[in-house]
């Protein structure tokens, strides 16, 4: 049976509000990057924009799915199991929504990883996409596989920006902080089965990460100089 995670009841919809921030920030970065692409016609900007757009779509799917799921779920122990009644009543939309969230999220993170690693090998890209699809399918039975994969990709992204900040390139410190917060959130999500409060912790760190990205975006793009 497909497992759904326990979110503390008092946190229902607060997490969706947090994720609206994620949607806005990732969409803003995506659109600006695609705007740069329209000027420069450099593919790296297009793929960077599309990667952030995928993450934005992922959060949008999660918000819509959660709104539907919260009305159907019943809390049992450490993990929420969907009762027979709820499982039958669960719209296909919710299951698609959950899978869409996971696959778009992993595709987005993998896109950023591939861009930063400057990998141009077609076989490398095909292999990563294959593993993302497999991960998404299996995460239906063991949700933590998804969060582990996301955390792994984020570790590389954090590592990349950390190296850059050590070399004094760009303003990578804030990006290290932002992606580290998002990484911590994914690590917290892995262990939700131990304590549902980890979900709140994860969501809070995720919000913090995207707020740092929003600050950086504001500083780079919106602020008048």
């Amino acid at each position: 049976m497909m497992q759904f995670l326990l979110h503390p009841t008092w946190f229902y919809n607060i997490d969706s509000a947090f994720e609206v921030v994620s949607v806005i920030v990732t969409a803003a970065i995506a659109l600006y990057s695609l705007r740069i692409y329209s000027f420069t016609k450099e593919n790296r900007h297009k793929y960077f924009g599309l990667s952030f757009l995928a993450i934005s779509i992922a959060y949008l799917c999660k918000i819509l799915t959660n709104v539907v799921l919260y009305q159907k779920m019943q809390e049992v122990g450490g993990i929420v199991t969907v009762t027979k009644y709820a499982l039958h009543a669960l719209p296909i939309f919710s299951i698609f929504g959950l899978f869409s969230y996971r696959i778009f999220m992993l595709l987005g993170l993998a896109g950023i990883y591939l861009l930063l690693s400057q990998s141009r090998e077609r076989s490398h890209i095909v292999l990563i996409v294959y593993f993302i699809v497999i991960t998404t399918l299996f995460s239906g039975y063991a949700y933590f596989i998804f969060h582990m994969t996301a955390a792994l990709l984020l570790m590389y992204i954090v590592g990349f920006y950390y190296q850059r900040s050590r070399q004094g390139q760009g303003k990578s410190r804030s990006l290290v902080a932002a992606f580290s917060c998002i990484l911590i959130s994914q690590l917290a999500f892995i262990f939700i089965f131990l304590n549902s409060k980890l979900y709140v912790l994860g969501e809070s760190f995720q919000l913090l990460g995207f707020l740092i990205l929003l600050y950086e975006y504001y500083h780079l793009v919106l602020r008048r100089r």
Partner: protein
């Protein structure tokens, strides 16, 4: 040395004019932007057509003036470069 893109060249040209207080002689621009005469003419025609630069004549001498659109391009280009640099693209 990394080859300059078309946008880099346009930005270099506009920056050269800006550094000269928004007004420059075409020959000076050619040297400052490190371009051949033929290339300079091609780019200038485009910049004039896009109203980023205006050609004026003062006391028998031709000058190039940076327009508001030109100033705006420089600002936008700087933002793009900073975005690119920050995200390591």
């Amino acid at each position: 040395m990394k080859r300059r893109s078309k946008l880099d060249i346009v930005n270099d040209m506009l920056l050269s004019i800006q550094e000269k207080g928004g007004k420059i002689k075409p020959t000076h621009l050619m040297y400052k932007a490190n371009l051949s005469h033929k290339l300079l003419k091609g780019y200038l025609d485009e910049l004039v057509a896009k109203e980023m630069v205006k050609e004026v004549k003062e006391k028998q001498t031709n000058y190039l003036l940076l327009t508001d659109k030109g100033h705006s391009f420089i600002a936008q280009f700087k933002k793009m470069k900073e975005f690119q640099e920050t995200f390591g693209l």
